[in-house]
Symmetry: C2
Amino acid sequence: MTGTTVDPFDTLVGKAATLDDVAARAGVSTATVSRFVNNPQVVAKATAERIRAAIAETGYIPNLLAGGLASSKSKMVAVLIPYLTDSIFNDTMQTMAEELSAAGTTVMLGLTGVSEARTEDLIRAAISRRVDAIIFTGPVTPNVEQMVRRSPALFIQVWDLPEHPIGIAVGFSHHAAGRDIARFLMSRGYRRPHVVTAQGARANMRRDGFVAEWLAGENAAPTEASVEVPSRFGHARRIFAEIRRLDEMPDVVVCGSDYLAQGVIVEALAAGLRVPEDIAVVGFGNSSIAGEMRPTITSVEVDGARIAREAIAAIRNRSGAGLPQERWIDVGFRLVARESA
Amino acid sequence: MTGTTVDPFDTLVGKAATLDDVAARAGVSTATVSRFVNNPQVVAKATAERIRAAIAETGYIPNLLAGGLASSKSKMVAVLIPYLTDSIFNDTMQTMAEELSAAGTTVMLGLTGVSEARTEDLIRAAISRRVDAIIFTGPVTPNVEQMVRRSPALFIQVWDLPEHPIGIAVGFSHHAAGRDIARFLMSRGYRRPHVVTAQGARANMRRDGFVAEWLAGENAAPTEASVEVPSRFGHARRIFAEIRRLDEMPDVVVCGSDYLAQGVIVEALAAGLRVPEDIAVVGFGNSSIAGEMRPTITSVEVDGARIAREAIAAIRNRSGAGLPQERWIDVGFRLVARESA
DNA sequence: TCATGGCGTGAAGGCGCTAGCGTCTGCACC
DNA sequence: GGTGCAGACGCTAGCGCCTTCACGCCATGA
């Protein structure tokens, strides 16, 4: 099945057809072919038919590098997220990629991790390609801000609502989400939460929201733990081991993602504990697994797909009429009570 | 937090600097600046320093649309996978995106789903952007084959080793993987496997490999079930319910992904069964959860990161010397026996 | 001293396409 | 038959950059 050595170049036959080739073949000017490609209804029926045929015969595929250069519109948007695996942004990303390509827009994917240098490189790369928009999730460094302000690309910060967005923001208040989780747990009578926070700005905002509300309720301070981002299933072993070493077992574990929550449940069950009777668990993100796990996981639903759609609408809106837009789009969140807490 | 209406355009200050601006400021020709940007070591030390300063002062960011057009090299590769969520390609994708952007190459992401039309659109879009390579996973339709053969882009099929790859292939034999799972289960004394296959070419090859080997061992035919792709955690409920309705309970469930395997384990445990004593489970892909689940999941390890690296090496190799390359790169696989079977 | 050869640089011609500006044609109307 | 008016189309000047070619300069060796 291996060993044969070939030159993969050999598949190429001749040179790719250009607008000129098509135009010559159809007996029209390049301008008309260009119009046909970008705006078919402005060319006459008969001409359109000839051009269509010429394109089919030549196998012409437009060169968007040239087109983008000439029109200074790239029909490309960059989407920058920290991780792909076990990521809370998965739904957003999936919807984004689906809807953008359905609309004929190319998606440039960038994985920033937690590195500022990497982030800046990716922003620079995006601007280099003259993307129409940059969809971004994460903290904005001064360098990034400067580059972005200089660029005509629309800058969209998603999954958060910063006070001073550079462009526009589509997200929700993480502080409020944390607060609502605290209220929910208090209403259910939980007394000793253990808060597991991932090392990231947004997770910290939720944590602060939770703790502030919790303390406002005249409760003792919750115990806490921290995990690296992304907050994954696999972190659960250590987290659970730590919990067992606490002086007093918490009665509920507040997790930064449903994957981590799932892991904690698995560990608890394996240790012979009942969930939620012996220990309750709360997730975040309402990933599909939250409703599918046994027990089902109480979580905070964030409509990732809607975030994607709002972002895309903003892009379309701007490239169209250039209307003034809302600077913040709050998609809210919703606590979904299930079996685990 | 909302309501203020602004024009996000207001962030733009003037026009982006071009090569000419930098050249004028540094007192050199555009050719020299271009050389500095693409191949710094060929310009003299002192000149380089002047150019560096000019770039910093102007905030120049190269226009890769123009650069690509002129050089007919886009420094961009398209990566086309079916899904992002719960996908077995996640590791490959993550590594791909990390290493490519580290190498200054832009990643164009395309989600093909299971639609041939969508796939063809994405291939066309990739060629439109004159990508250097297309990394592809899935069946190749005649239309795709034709477009790809006409294009100078390197076509790399990953996660599989088709008999007649269009460009090159990086993967492993799914048939052999299925066969080895069968052998493993026979050696462990299992008698009644239940095979859950996702609706996809590769999954079917594994299934065929499994069944052929199983029957060769003078065993009764296994029971089977099928799930939509991607084979996810959430499918487990239905699968498990079906299993319970079988005349005879299987003693092992062979799953198309670790996520599904995880789901089956959760269902089994929730039903009071012991894993693997009452029912064993085998996954596929050796995702991180396989080693983290309780019980840990027996799975087939495929080095997704290596697939990514081999693919990238092939691209680099070709754009460099253009050496003849292996047409097939077999990264193999490895059955990892753990607690669940 | 003079040829030789690098090395660093500049000039100029595209790369393939778009968009503004103009022209031409056909048709309705007077 | 002349006029006006669109609709359809062609011309042309770039978009910003890369790359070949040629040139001048200086160090080297004979």
